[in-house]
Amino acid sequence: MSNLNTGPITTIPATPVQNDVAMISFPKTGNDRQPVAPDGTVIPDRRTRRTPRSWLLHIPLVLVCVAAILPFLWMLSTSFKSLEMAMTFPPQYIPKPFQWSNYAEVLSSNKTDFLLWTRNTLIIAVLGVAGTVFSSALVAYGFAKIKFRGSKVLFAVMLMTMMVPFPVTMVSLFAVFKWLGETTGTEWLGTFKPLWVPAWFGSAFNIFLLRQFFMTIPDDLSEAAKIDGCSEFGIFWRIILPLARPALTVVALFAFMGIWNDFLGPLVYLQRPEQFTLALGLQNFQSQHGGTPWHLLMAASVMVILPVVVLFFLAQKTFIEGIATTGMKG
């Protein structure tokens, strides 16, 4: 009731789309009491004022952007070349003619099974993202809204687990999954399970992020619901989750990207090519081909990158919509 003053209600709508990433990342450093939405991060008048020489700033910025974008263009250009054209010196920057068939060739090559790998990645991603969002939100609610004995200690332990490097658990997790396979009677190693089941038990960073967000939601709605006889889970499910949609979107997005990009996990736990994820498949494609047909490799890479980039641009929109539809503007 008393923390109305830090409510997200006034701060979130002021957040321009471009800042969604900032909104995601910054709270990691944030002071405990600060809401996830970085209030004030984006109020324009906080920036330094336009100086008469501000056009000078464009020079380094353009250079930085050229450096950022040239590799993409080079990749795209190669992906539309024939192999001979890709190997010609000096290189042709704009391929003539555009060889679209590279993409078809990657998709139909008998050494690769891009569609199957995409399907595998999506299966893991859907199960993993659903698990991460649901379990992290549940746990975050417990830490944010229920004042129980020991919660501070547990929360501190949780933050500490973020420091444990994956290699430390990588080896023994392998043994744990082997043991799980032996005791549960269904194989774990060489299946997708090690890659998505742990997601259903919350991930420390996302729990932290959601907890910060939940704490900014005023308690009056929940208290009103409680008086109406709503259970704690009901409050979590019907009141908090809908209000937290922007933050949940962020968590889902991060979880998806994490799974889509993961290489070490699939490398350790998956063995047969028909189970490969895209990341593992792409690497396998490269090592299989030896002589490296760069045009195909670049076409394949474009196909792995494209969904993430598309998602990024879509998510900017989702954010506005998420904020508008959750009634945060009210």
Binding site: W74, F89, F201
Partner: protein
């Protein structure tokens, strides 16, 4: 009495909500961490039960020349990447923290590379660094460098190549800095203006102290990240040429899953954990001298 019951009820309720994490913590973190400590004192190949051998693994490691090469390579990489990426990212963020036209476009472009999956980035940079046909050497020749380095094929240039590549993905850090920069109270700049501070003094006395918590955060994340570097180097160079890019985690992986020396790999993992912990504590301790938390 009623009060006590209410508290017990709340505790049970809280624990119920938190229980997924507790279970996950025990099964996927606490037990594996404990097991790996135990394995680090064992001869263990996964197929046979572990045999306790005391400090043997650690002793062998101390005399393992590849282990030391991997330590040196990782340290070399971290020493190059950490300052370079922190400074580059901060510089770009400061440029972006101005009212200029097209800001959102710049910001998006700077961020884009950090979205690229490690494997795809590895493929891309393999091609960019191609000694003969790669864009980088084509460009270097175009500006008059007739014999540019062979990059990934040259043990002396392979590491700088990986560093360059990691700088390409600095956009994530830029965005974190930018959020911090936009939080710096405008009044501080106004006060500095009244005192007649030059832009450089403003950066030194206002901007840097104000965002020092963000710098600190990026430093810690950077330490944890660079000491674990694996995927891209594993794909691009597989540790070569001449072991010039054999990183710590790569050698650990090879021991665990190629040589099936799980105990040996666990010993490496524990040394890594302790080093990361020590460096983080060191950074935290030093931060008392240079990190200023605002009065928020």
């Amino acid at each position: 009495m009623a009060n006590e019951n209410a508290e017990t009820g709340r505790t049970l309720k809280g624990l119920a909500f938190v229980s997924p994490w507790i279970i996950g913590f025990v099964v996927f973190t606490a037990v594996p961490v404990g097991l790996s400590l135990y394995y680090s004192f064992c001869d263990y190949s996964l197929t046979l039960p572990p045999v306790f051998t005391g400090l043997d693994n650690y002793r062998t490691l101390m005399g393992d020349s590849i282990f030391w090469i991997s330590v040196r390579n990782t340290a070399y990489y971290a020493v190059l990447v950490l300052p370079l990426s922190l400074i580059t990212a901060l510089g770009i963020a400061m440029l972006l923290n101005n009212k200029i036209r097209g800001l959102s476009i710049y910001r998006t472009i700077v961020f884009l590379p950090s979205l690229v999956p490690a494997v795809a980035a590895a493929m891309l940079w393999l091609w960019l660094f191609n000694a003969k046909l790669g864009l980088i050497n084509v460009g270097l020749r175009a500006i008059g460098i007739s014999e540019p380095p062979a990059w990934l094929a040259d043990p002396n240039w392979s590491m700088p190549a990986l560093v360059l590549m990691s700088l390409w993905g600095v956009g994530n850090t830029v965005v974190i800095y930018l959020a911090g920069l936009q939080d710096v109270p405008r009044e501080l700049y106004e006060a500095a203006d009244i005192d007649g501070a030059t832009p450089i003094r403003k950066i030194w006395h206002v901007t840097l102290p104000s965002i020092s918590p963000v710098i600190f955060f990026n430093l810690i994340m950077g330490i944890i990240g660079t000491l674990q570097v694996f995927s891209q180097a594993y794909i691009i160079t597989a540790g070569g040429p001449a072991r010039s890019t054999t990183f710590y985690t790569m050698y650990l992986y090879d021991n665990a899953f190629v040589n099936l020396r799980m105990g040996y790999a666990s010993a490496m993992a524990w040394i890594q954990l302790l080093v990361i912990l020590a460096l983080t504590l060191l950074a935290t301790w030093s931060s008392k001298k240079w990190v200023h938390y605002g009065g928020k």
